[in-house]
């Protein structure tokens, strides 16, 4: 995932671009020709991870489909900040219907295209974690189960950000949200609830499932490109830090995504037909504290008293991911 077949020791392929690489080996985001599918002037907050992740993903999908792409969008920040009527930041055909039906709308478009014989035009659906893992989950599972020809991209910022940071089934344990306040014996979100949608998608045995973050654009682009080379239902789950909802500095968005993977809390992997085929190994392992500390939603774990036990439980989660996906050893294949 991270490795490249050309060895360039200055930065390898860690940076967005690399002037030493052939044009064809460069990332979409490094090119002057990228579509900027999500254009400037959108009203996302400073340092918005979702705006960044969406441009990364959709620009890559545009390149992979030769710009023959239609997107359906669930309600959520991405939709609200990009399209206050009558303005739009989208430079692609784009439709918004409801909070919970993006997968169904996309399915409808894909079927319509098939019926019209327009096989060259492809469809993506996109939404936040709330729209995906909670309210849109029925439509999503149906789309998987029918193996509809749609790539669904979930931008996971771990809460309902657009309406003021309410807990979703993707909110991590211990995190403070508007609906999981720092009160009672177990402050913040409880342990042992929520769901892991990438694994649920795998259980549908669809052709392709992957996770990614805004900290590794080449990896994200490669996954989108691969997904667009496949027909049938595909799912990519992208971690997109939210400065406002997480209580983090806007300039830390990429760093937090990096720390999430380097700590093991957010495993980055790929699966085909229900089986894990590859994962990004950890390069500079960090303890979960390093990831938690810069975020005010976890501040109660450090002040007024250090909640070592809670932190240990989160570390155990990271350790489990490391074991489960073999994140510490061996080479990454791609």
């Amino acid at each position: 995932m991270r490795s490249s077949h050309v060895k360039f020791y200055q930065t390898g392929t860690f940076t967005v671009g690399n002037r030493l690489l052939n044009d064809s080996d460069r990332s979409v985001q490094s090119t002057m020709e990228r579509t900027n599918s999500l254009n400037s002037g959108h009203r996302a907050c400073q340092g918005c991870g979702e705006a960044l992740g969406a441009r990364y993903a959709i620009d890559a999908a545009m390149r992979a489909t030769d710009n023959q792409l239609i997107a359906a969008n669930a309600t959520g920040c991405l939709e609200v900040f990009s399209t206050p009527y009558p303005e739009t930041s989208w430079q692609i055909p784009w439709i918004h219907s409801l909070f919970g039906n993006a997968a169904a709308v996309a399915t409808g478009i894909a079927v319509a295209l098939r019926v019209k014989g327009r096989t060259g035009t492809r469809v993506v659906a996109q939404g936040g974690d709330g729209g995906t893992t909670d309210i849109g989950f029925g439509c999503l599972s149906g789309m998987f189960e029918r193996n509809d020809d749609v790539l669904y991209i979930c931008y996971d910022n771990e809460a309902y950000m657009n309406t003021g940071v309410q807990r979703s089934s993707a909110t991590p344990p211990a995190a403070r949200t508007a609906t999981t306040q720092v009160v009672g014996p177990q402050p913040g979100n409880v342990f042992g609830q929520g769901k892991n949608v990438p694994r649920i998608a795998m259980a549908h045995e669809i052709p392709y499932v992957a996770t990614a973050t805004v900290a590794d654009v080449r990896d994200l682009e490669a996954k989108v490109t691969k997904a667009m080379s496949i027909h049938g239902a595909r799912y990519i789950h992208v971690l997109v830090p939210c400065p406002l909802g997480w209580g983090a500095a806007p300039h830390d968005t990429v760093k937090l995504a990096r720390l999430a993977t380097e700590s093991g809390l957010f495993p980055v992997f790929e699966a085909e037909h229900g089986e894990v085929t590859d994962r990004s190994t950890i390069r500079r392992q960090v303890a979960v504290e390093e990831y938690l500390k810069p975020q005010r939603r976890f501040a109660h774990l450090f002040k007024p008293t250090l909640q070592s036990e809670v932190i240990a439980r989160l570390q155990a989660q990271a350790d489990r991911n490391i074991r489960r996906y073999n994140l510490l050893s061996g080479e990454t294949h791609r």
Binding site: Y9, T253, R258
Partner: protein, 541 residues
């Protein structure tokens, strides 16, 4: 115009919404001074020449290098490379092998016959340079580049100063030195060999020189008083090394004792081994750790069979033996005699105790101030005598080839200004690109390339060069380890990580600019820039 049902407005673009107005801080591109450049005594723009070398554009790299230092192949061998000690990469894994890449570029220039850019316009001014050591040739080169006519007067029959008559051939092959100096002569510098200058004033007056640069070095080997029944076998290091350049090699015998602890002592001891001495012993007053000689040169000498006797002084030399007195460090770390004596056989004793400046030439110059055996100069190398400048070993301070080259360059700029009736001021330095300004996540893990070393037998018996060169692939690898501290290397990271597309990519070699209409001032580009080439500033009112 008919619109679809319930639609009353045309579709507009969000570009109408200038979100840059949200900003309270703004990112700006800067060039920060990388530690390698900051440390280089010759003021080389190391990061910039490595940048070109990374692309495999070795000629462009060499041209940036020689803009500051004309002796690339030589420096790639004899420079003590303080840049590598300062290199930020040293904190990540190991410093970049700057010196090895410099050598590769210098050798490549000599292989390919690259020449300096032709002088554009002659100024008609004439400058006298006394001495063809590194200080002199550097000054001559830079003055010539500015269009001045330059004459170098050199007392010896060959040019190069201590680079030829001091540094042994196994560290600096003479064809390398010759090629580096020839290129400077080919620019139109007049080199007069075998011409010792005795009266600077007269020469300047008689031959119409407008200014003068002195680079006469420190040539006289320091002597220490050693009671000796027979002083024939006592000689000094600079004489021995000087004689190595003549047809008659010095006769030192089978057992050679070298007295001193600097690089010169090590060079003489290693030379003695190569001349056939079975025993070559360095006697030094203090401990091995205290030796001013560079550790890796001491290491190489030991590998070649040179022996070290530290905490010892020579009390007496007599015929074919010497008497050594053991020393002990006192509480302040100074060596004190213990009275404990030991005799050892010695066919010759070579004193390597440093060199003094020959003051004869200088005391004859009107108005020139000398202090503590060195010529007094101002910050831009002018002596107390207006129009006469000096640099290198003769002005005191650190005595290295690189320092001498830096002096020559600075003096050339000062002379050029002085000829126009101006005073040269070095431009202000950029703020430093310290390690904490880098985001080292982005650099791949890559250990340093080790240069090949000549096998030990040939090092004990021949004057073949000990340290080898990097081949092209290795030089490229090494150059690409550079992190480009403080200077944009067009990695596109800022262009990528901006959630607002507020970074314009201007194309290869043109870097980037900010579109402040849409930059919200989140600072992601600043945080993620690998090399620290963006600064956050308060929004101007």
């Amino acid at each position: 115009m008919t619109k679809p049902y319930a639609i009353t407005l045309d579709v507009g673009s969000s570009l109408a919404n200038l979100t840059g107005s949200w900003r309270t801080q703004r990112p700006v591109y800067v060039d920060r001074l990388p530690p390698c450049n900051a440390t280089c005594p010759a003021g080389e723009n190391i990061q910039q020449w490595l940048f070109h070398a990374e692309e495999g554009n070795y000629e462009a790299a060499w041209r940036v290098l020689v803009a500051d230092n004309p002796l690339a192949a030589t420096m790639g061998r004899v420079c003590y490379h303080p840049c590598e000690k300062a290199c930020n990469r040293g904190e990540l894994d190991e410093s970049v092998g700057i010196n090895a890449v410099e050598r590769f570029l210098g050798d490549e220039a000599n292989r390919q016959g690259w020449q300096f850019d032709p002088v554009e316009q002659d100024t008609g001014r004439r400058i006298l340079v006394v001495g063809s050591g590194p200080a002199g040739v550097s000054a001559a080169y830079h003055l010539r580049r500015m269009g001045h006519a330059v004459v170098i007067c050199e007392a010896e029959d060959s040019a190069g100063g201590m680079m030829r008559y001091g540094i042994p051939q196994y560290r600096l092959p003479r064809d390398t030195l010759d090629a580096d100096i020839r290129r400077i002569v080919d620019m139109g510098v007049e080199l007069r060999l075998g011409e010792r200058v005795d009266d600077v004033d007269a020469l300047m007056r008689d031959q119409g020189f407008d200014a003068c640069f002195l680079g006469v070095g420190s040539q006289i080997g320091k002597r220490a008083y050693i009671p000796a029944g027979d002083a024939r076998h006592i000689t000094d290091a600079v004489s021995v090394l000087h004689q190595m350049e003549s047809t008659q090699r010095p006769l030192l015998g089978r057992r050679v004792v070298v007295y001193g602890g600097g690089n010169t002592a090590v060079d003489v001891a290693r030379t003695a081994r190569r001349l056939g001495a079975e025993e070559s012993i360095i006697v030094y007053r203090r401990t091995r750790e205290k030796m001013p000689a560079h550790a890796h040169e001491v290491e190489e000498a030991l590998e070649e069979g040179v022996k070290l006797k530290w905490l010892s002084t020579i009390a007496e030399a007599d015929g074919d033996t010497i008497t050594v007195e053991k020393m002990a460090l006192d509480e302040n770390g100074f060596p004190q005699p213990t009275g404990e004596l030991e005799t050892m056989p010695a066919d010759s004793v070579v004193l390597a105790l440093g060199q003094d400046v020959d003051l004869d030439l200088l005391s004859g110059i009107d108005g020139m101030q000398i202090d503590g055996g060195a010529v007094v100069v101002d910050p831009v190398q002018m002596t107390t005598r207006p129009g006469i400048f000096a640099g290198g070993d003769m002005v005191g301070g650190e005595k290295t080839v690189t320092v001498a080259i830096g002096h020559g360059k600075k003096a050339a700029r000062a002379i050029d200004a002085w000829l126009r009736g101006e005073t040269y001021h070095a431009p202000p330095k950029h703020e430093q690109a310290t390690y904490d300004r880098l985001n080292t996540w982005y650099y791949s893990d890559a250990p340093k390339t080790i240069r090949p070393v000549l096998d030990i037998i040939r090092r004990q018996s021949t004057f073949d060069e000990v340290v080898g060169s990097l081949d092209e692939a290795n030089a490229l690898y090494e150059a690409r380890r550079c992190m480009s501290c403080g200077n944009c290397f067009e990695c596109d990271t800022c262009y990528g990580v901006c959630p607002d597309n507020a970074v314009n990519k201007l194309g290869p070699g043109k870097r980037f600019s900010f579109n402040y209409d849409y930059c919200k001032g989140c600072g992601l580009c600043v945080a993620e820039c690998p090399c620290g080439a963006i600064r956050m500033e308060h929004e101007p009112d």
